[in-house]
């Protein structure tokens, strides 16, 4: 009981065990960069290549480098945001619950593409890094590429991968998926909105879902379903196989 509590407290401790001014400055800086890059993103019509996360990371990265601030110290400073990822992920239960009627109605028809797409992506990715002789840790991290970032990070941790790298890979996947989706849709002659949404959500998760939402409500709804279900299945299956 106490060790579990102790671990919990350790996770929260950066919040009160550092210079408050520094922490505040880090938080404000990060928030500022994030909001500005979001404005830029929407101003430029949501081009996936200029995603606010990529721009923010680059800006902060360069900023830290030139101001010669220790990356580890800065990261401790923004622990508050890191911790907020938890409740935000739990909040995914809301869209999932709202989509349950659809799942109940269409059952297997929606499950099959999600399961197949959700297992294809990691398998091909893993094969690629395996054949190209990369370290085991990288290979394990690759396996979580098809689920949404917060779950991917948690799962990567459990199966011996690197959570932060998992986040990057997942976001890259999302960007690649969202960018090439229009062409692939034409190539595969996917007319059905449901099909488009489902595929986008399962393979390109949150970024794909945004793209799906720009097509239509229904497309977005199916994407959300794909995202949540694929996330759950993969996050359940991988630890059982590899933890």
């Amino acid at each position: 009981m106490t060790s579990a509590l102790q671990q919990l407290i350790d996770q929260l401790s950066p919040l009160w065990s550092q210079n408050y001014v520094f922490m505040f400055a880090c938080l404000i800086a990060t928030l500022g960069v994030y909001l500005l890059s979001r404005k830029l993103y929407f101003w430029l019509d949501q081009n996936p290549l200029l995603h606010p996360l990529t721009i923010s990371t680059l800006v902060i990265g360069f900023g830290l480098h030139f101001a010669e601030i220790d990356v580890m110290a800065f990261k401790r400073g923004i622990t508050l945001f890191e911790l907020l990822l938890g409740p935000a992920t739990v909040a995914l239960a809301v869209p999932l619950y709202n989509q349950l009627p659809v799942l109940r109605q269409l059952g297997f028809r929606v499950l099959a593409p999600i399961l197949i797409g959700g297992s294809l992506a990691p398998t091909i990715a893993w094969l690629s890094v395996y054949l190209l002789k990369t370290p085991l840790q990288l290979q394990m991290t690759m396996l979580v590429k098809s689920i949404t970032t917060p779950l991917a990070m948690g799962t990567a941790d459990l199966i011996g991968g690197t959570p932060e790298l998992a986040a990057v890979i997942v976001i890259l996947t999302g960007i690649v998926g969202a960018t090439f989706a229009p062409w692939l849709i034409i190539l595969t002659k996917t007319d059905s909105e449901y099909a488009q949404g489902l595929a986008l959500g399962s393979v390109a998760h949150v970024i794909g879902t945004s793209k799906a939402l720009s097509v239509s409500e229904t497309c977005g709804a199916f994407a959300t379903l794909g995202l949540c279900l694929n996330g759950i299945f993969t996050a359940l299956l991988l630890p059982i196989l590899f933890a």
Partner: protein, 142 residues
């Protein structure tokens, strides 16, 4: 406006509580699942028991989900620390991501089209989320 904010704050507090509980359960029982997933299940169970999503949770979920990008920045910044691993294997990484994403997206699209063409879901997308979605489309960060 303030009523919604109060609801939002209550909902947020509840989400935090659920997250802490799932963190605790994760450590105490060494459950092989990411703590956030445990939290999702707890919340889902709560919704099923309550027969719906309480307004407080919807109010807090919307901004949290819309701004998830902000909460992912700490992780992305950490990647700067992994620069070496990255440098050595970035070719493999890029090939793996590009290849797997394009192939799996293509196949999933094709497969979904085969399975779902001509199917019409007669259940309406739950109304409250439609308004959420409209706002989310303009504000979703991811």
């Amino acid at each position: 406006m303030t009523k919604n904010s109060v609801r939002g704050i209550c909902g947020f507090a509840l989400l935090c509580c659920i997250y802490f509980i799932s963190l605790f359960l994760f450590h105490y029982f060494t459950i092989p699942l990411p703590p956030a997933l445990i939290g999702i299940f707890i919340l889902l169970l709560l919704f099923l028991l309550l027969g719906g999503v309480p307004a407080a949770i919807t109010q807090s979920a919307r901004p949290l989900l819309a701004h998830m990008g902000l909460f992912l920045l700490p992780a992305l910044i950490s990647v700067l620390l992994y620069g070496d691993l990255f440098e050595q294997y970035y070719v493999a990484l890029i090939i793996a991501v590009l290849l797997s994403t394009l192939v799996s997206l293509g196949i999933t699209l094709w497969l979904s089209q085969r399975i779902l063409s001509g199917v019409k879901a007669s259940t309406e997308v739950n109304q409250p989320m439609i308004n959420e979605r409209k706002k989310m489309t303009s504000k979703t960060s991811l």
